[in-house]
């Protein structure tokens, strides 16, 4: 009698799955809130005409004063629309009068109900402002002090540009308009490709230098990681100081050594600035490639090299036919990851040149559109473009990663 194995998911398995989701919940929740939600909202914003000024919502604003000399006093409410062009509907001002105040004839549109004052303004247009003067007939000392203490409440509903259903394709039209987009894309690709390849080659070189044990190897390894560990803002400003056309040591050195006749504006001239930010990128991130390549090198079996020595292979041959094929996996994974990350890089270029002198990459363009030109919608549209590029790269990445699971 063969007993059939249990089918489906048993209670233990269910419990384990429940526990797993429970443990993952905080992470998933926070990631959904801070990563997924903003990503979705970027798509929403990219098709809306939003400027930086629209972030402060349109609302009615009121100020209250007690004015005039004793005997001829009045309570004044000054009401205005915070926006110059957006209307606000059903604006109502309400306030409570302290005891001891007697008002005279009330002007339109205010009504007094007991001690409760209510002024119904209806709909007000953009740029609307008005004064409502309530004549005071009698007032005592305590009430005069109390009047300025109680704040009036004003309500009204305005159309919020972020939540209404007005859409526009103008943001994308702006982004793709003219030759600017293609030059930005070209700069981004130049920066990403050369920055990544340069950092990999330098990292490979540095890893080969340190792939032997000698005294001081640990110190040098620590030292070579400095550019990566230091805060980007500190090293970026140091580079700016070092290459400053007037007070920079690099220019002084070059002039003194007779390499250049006069000071060079490294971060301000057109093709040079792009090369400089790429060199900075290589300088800052070669430590990372170096670390990964070194870790992989140290895990390569030494037997192979002994066998190669027996066969009379020369050092260059050993590198070309043994080390390089062994390192190809980590090199390709590093290339793709670093490429994606360089493509996404914002801080470095923003700090070095601010995107001027032909160094504006896509990510810098997001900032430039959203904050320098104050057009949040256009910034979001660029962000959407960045996101789709990223999606494309990730597909490649996962194809390669599944081949090179050994990272």
């Amino acid at each position: 009698m063969a007993v059939a194995p249990p089918q489906g998911t048993g209670p233990l398995q269910k419990r384990e799955a429940r526990l797993a989701w429970g443990l993952l919940f905080p992470t998933l929740f926070s990631v959904a809130l801070v990563v997924v939600l903003p990503l979705l909202s970027i798509f929403w914003i990219s098709v809306k005409p939003v400027g930086l000024a629209d972030l402060r919502p349109t609302a009615p604003i009121v100020r209250k004063d007690l004015r005039g000399k004793t005997g001829d006093q009045r309570i004044e409410y000054r009401l205005r629309n915070s926006s110059q062009d957006a209307p606000i509907s059903s604006v109502v001002l309400s306030d409570t009068l302290p005891a001891g105040v007697e008002l005279g004839a009330l002007p339109e549109p205010c009504k007094l109900n007991g001690r409760k004052l209510r002024c119904d303004f209806g709909d007000i247009a953009g740029g609307f402002r008005t004064r409502v003067k309530l004549p005071v007939v009698a007032i005592d000392e305590a009430a005069a002090n109390a009047i300025e203490k109680t704040a009036p409440v004003v309500t009204g509903s305005a159309d919020n540009i972020l939540t209404n259903l007005r859409f526009t394709t103008e943001n994308f039209a702006r982004v793709f308009n003219g030759s600017e987009f293609w030059s930005v894309l070209g700069v981004t690709l130049f920066y990403s490709v050369f920055g990544t390849v340069g950092a990999l080659v330098m990292g490979l070189f540095a890893a080969m230098l340190l792939n032997k044990s000698f005294r001081g190897q640990g110190i040098l390894r620590g030292l070579y990681l400095f550019p990566y560990v230091a805060p980007v803002i500190a090293v970026a400003f140091t580079w700016i100081a070092l290459f400053d056309p007037f007070s920079g040591s690099a220019n002084a050195l070059l002039v003194q050594m007779g390499v250049s006749a006069g000071p060079i504006n490294f971060f301000g001239d057109r093709p040079l600035a792009l090369i400089m930010v790429t060199v900075f990128e290589i300088w800052r991130y070669f430590p990372l490639s170096f670390l990964f390549i070194l870790a992989r090198m140290q895990s390569i079996d030494t037997d192979m090299y002994e066998a190669a020595d027996m066969d009379g292979a020369s050092p260059f041959q050993k590198f070309r036919y043994l080390s390089l094929p062994q390192l190809l996996g980590i090199l390709s994974v590093l290339f793709l990851l670093r490429f994606i990350w360089t493509f996404n890089k914002f801080d470095d270029i923003f700090l070095l040149t601010g995107g001027n002198a032909g160094t504006r990459t896509l990510t810098v363009n997001v900032y430039e559109q959203a904050f320098a030109i104050s057009n949040i919608g256009a910034g979001a549209a660029v962000a959407v473009v960045v996101f789709f590029c990223l999606l494309l790269f990730s597909v490649f990445f996962f194809k390669v990663l599944s081949r090179e699971e050994g990272l």
Binding site: A20, V34, G222, Y228, I233, A234, M257, L288, A380, L390
Partner: protein, 404 residues
């Protein structure tokens, strides 16, 4: 190519190449230390290196080779054809130091490079060994220089005065006569610009980020590493995907949301965002480590009646202390160095983090050395932490994060 592999050709060529490296290095060092002009001259460098290389083949002792190089240089210097030309104001003592340094920098490494190089025809092995030794020497000098020079400039600029900098941008000698005045920019940053407060804010934000990140990522990583459930593979993968999302894309909606809810311009807002940017990395690193732990120990704990959570607390965590240290360090570094969000979200100088504080120093009214002093203040703590725990750091970085 065949011609190159002949001792009397290889040695002078490598010698000339090396002496070029040495001359530039000595010129840079002398310029940075004295602030005076030193300039390598191509012809002089070529002759010096080629002759030293050829002499090295004759297998003199090291001292003899250094002396020979020194003699050659002194002769050239006296005739005005030396490898390193000096400008007018260089004193005789400085020129002497330069000559000795150059002789050492040229002769000693050339002797090492050409150690096993015979005078006649070279085998492929001997030739490549010599080239590799040259490249190795060059590599050490090159990498050390490109790493040290910026940091050296950063520290030295922060100790100078504005006039001294503009007068001679090369002069990094410390005027010891100024005494405590050397640290003037640091004192002003702490007293007038409130950098003490920024330091505290940065520290608090970074430590809280580390704690929250660990709190969230440890259970998540354990679930992905150990527990079986549908969707495990998908989650493992999408975690990697999340840390490829560019920060600037997220920063824009976060800026909008924070502006509307009033969280902008508050440290609380930063502490809410920072951990989420590091949780995926931490989770990915930790799950790799958890996977490597033997499952049997945990199963034994389960058999003895511990619940899963107790197993994590009493068995898994104590076993993974090294990994926790790496992850904490790495997360601390990310939070400490973070610039973009702090720059976008903080406007009020009383709430600045260090990186935001430095960004506010970048104006034409504030002298350059203040900016550099700020950079030093931000760099020193993270460097000290990193050097002290370098082992954890390198392990942590390679454990599965390539984020930058």
């Amino acid at each position: 190519m065949r011609l190159l592999r002949y001792g009397y050709v290889t040695a002078p060529v490598l010698g000339a190449l090396w002496s070029f490296v040495a001359a530039v290095t000595v010129a840079l060092t002398m310029s940075f230390v004295t602030g005076d002009g030193f300039r390598p001259s191509a012809a002089g460098v070529l002759v010096l290196g080629a002759v030293t290389g050829a002499l090295a083949l004759l297998r003199f002792s090291g001292a003899a080779l250094v002396l020979a190089a020194l003699g050659l240089e002194a002769l050239g210097h006296w005739a005005g054809l030396g490898a390193l030309r000096t400008s007018g104001q260089v004193s005789a003592a400085e020129a002497g130091v330069m000559l000795v340094l150059l002789a050492l920098a040229v002769a000693v490494p050339i002797r090492v490079i050409l150690r096993d190089c015979p005078a006649g025809a070279l085998s492929r092995h001997e030739f490549e060994e010599a080239v590799i030794r040259f490249l190795t020497g060059f590599g050490y000098v090159f990498f050390t220089a490109i790493v040290i020079i910026p940091f050296y400039v950063m520290v030295m600029t922060s100790l100078k005065s504005q006039q001294a900098l503009l007068q001679n941008p090369l002069d990094f000698s410390i005027e010891l006569s100024r005494g405590w005045g050397l640290l003037r920019s640091y004192r002003e940053l702490f007293v007038d610009f409130g950098f003490g407060g920024y330091l505290v804010t940065s520290f608090v934000v970074s430590v809280l980020t580390v704690l929250i990140t660990l709190l969230f990522s440890i259970p998540g990583a354990y679930a992905v590493a150990r527990l079986r459930f549908r969707g495990r593979a998908v989650i493992g993968r999408s975690i990697l995907l999340i840390y490829m999302v560019p920060m600037i894309v997220l920063a824009l909606p976060i800026y909008i949301a924070f502006s509307m809810t009033g969280l902008r311009n508050s440290v609380t807002g930063l502490i809410m965002i920072y951990p989420v940017t590091t949780i995926p990395v931490a989770l990915f690193m930790l799950q790799g480590y958890f996977r490597g732990l033997p499952a049997e120990v945990e199963e034994a704990g389960l058999m003895d009646g511990l619940s899963r959570l107790a197993v994590i607390w009493k068995i898994t965590l104590p076993l993974s202390l090294p990994a926790l240290a790496s992850v904490s360090l790495y997360v601390f570094m990310i939070a400490w160095n973070e610039f973009l969000l702090a720059f976008m979200l903080l406007d009020d100088p009383s709430k600045f983090t260090l990186t935001r504080g430095i960004a506010s120093l970048n104006s034409s009214e504030i002298p350059r050395q203040h900016l550099m002093a700020g950079a030093v203040i931000a760099t020193v703590p993270i460097m000290a932490l990193f050097l002290g725990l370098e082992r954890f750091m390198t392990k942590g970085l390679t454990a599965g994060s390539v984020k930058g």
